[in-house]
Amino acid sequence: MFTQFFGNFLLNQNLVANWQLSEALELQKDTKLKLGVLAINAGFMTADQVNTVHSAQQRMDKRFGDIAVEMRFVTHDQIETLLNTQKTGHLLLGQALVDKGYMTNGQFEKALNDYKKLYSINDKDFSDVQNGKIEQVIKTFYHFNNFKYAKVFTEYVSLMFKNIIRFIGDDFSPLEPVTTNEFEAGWIATQTIKGKYNIFTAIDGNEEAFIEFSSRFAGEKFTDIDEYSQASVAEFLNLHNGLFTVNISNEQQAELELAPQTVQNNKIIKTSSEMFCMPICFPFGTINILLSNDIPQIV
């Protein structure tokens, strides 16, 4: 899941633009990982060495690995290790950006190292979705730190990302969150969680993003917003909130109840305390996750 935040990191560092990231998220599905990117990721080769091998490849008909070994940049064993490396998302994203010419190998190497350093995460964390460190990344990223519901919201969002990956797809990147008292919604599915914690939850998007999100969850192609596509987004939210309440119930012996979901269009959501709006960029558009400990007025 670190992959998704790596995309955001690239945006924040001004290494790529929003549209370039969207394009790369789309492209990564068909991207094949090159040995050079894997070698940089593993720390076996520097970007300069990879570039040297790439130039050499233009002059001779040899495989990347063979040249790299001949030039003594890597050993045979290291090449073997790389060939057995799992395809991990952040590498595919990096590869797609490099292939498109939006980033150089050098920029990719630096960004990856900076990112790992920032969150003190290693390669294993990157490929391990269950890793507890993701909660730390989320808590920091969303600035929940001083908030009353910081722990609950962190759990909520961690689970949300797992469920999005499980039911919608992993080709997304979270964008900078905003806090607000008033949110102008496009198409919005809402549900309230009641009990020990009272939480307003919602998923919002414009027509295009809402349709595609609903299509992915339902596993069928919707072309407009009808009762099926509305039910699909509402059901995703209900499913996620259900799993969340189960977790809270198991951890804290706190029973939480869910109110029925609603889907509305062109509404203003007003809260008296701050509401977190967490945009997520997909190739098909942006989806906003809303979270508040205040039950809002919807007008």
Binding site: A234, E235, L258
Partner: protein, 126 residues
């Protein structure tokens, strides 16, 4: 009883969930499927049609699935009602079973479990 002779009532406020469930039950050879969108409709449709099996969502507007379950059991204490919910907390499970639910399904609904329940109820109907 043959699966094809069974009458099944689906109660869920999500049209998408009803559609997916109906498609699956049809694929098992059962076409006598009724749909209710809330607890009140579910109780009324149960009384009208006397289905062999009911799949009931818990979180619904108007009347919750648990309240509808109580009404259905008051009408027919042998009713077979399977509660389905995304909220699978211990308490929900406990309330559903104590109230007299036949079984409990956690959403997202696993269609293999639906098949097993339908087959089992069909056998019991013999």
């Amino acid at each position: 009883m043959e699966v094809s002779k069974m009458k099944i009532l689906l109660c869920d406020d999500s049209i998408l969930v009803r559609k997916k469930m109906k498609q699956h039950i049809n694929s098992l050879g059962c076409f006598n499927v009724f749909e209710a969108v809330n607890g009140i409709e579910a109780v009324n449709m149960y009384k009208e049609n006397n289905p062999d099996l009911v799949f009931m969502d818990i979180v619904m507007p108007e009347k919750t699935g648990v309240d509808a379950l109580k009404d259905i059991l008051a009408y027919n204490k042998k009713a077979k009602v399977v509660m389905a919910s995304s909220v699978g907390t211990q308490n929900h499970l406990k309330v559903a079973i104590e109230t007299g639910a036949y079984d409990f399904l956690q959403k997202p609904i696993d269609f293999d479990s639906v098949t097993k329940i339908v087959t089992k109820v069909a056998k019991e109907g013999n």
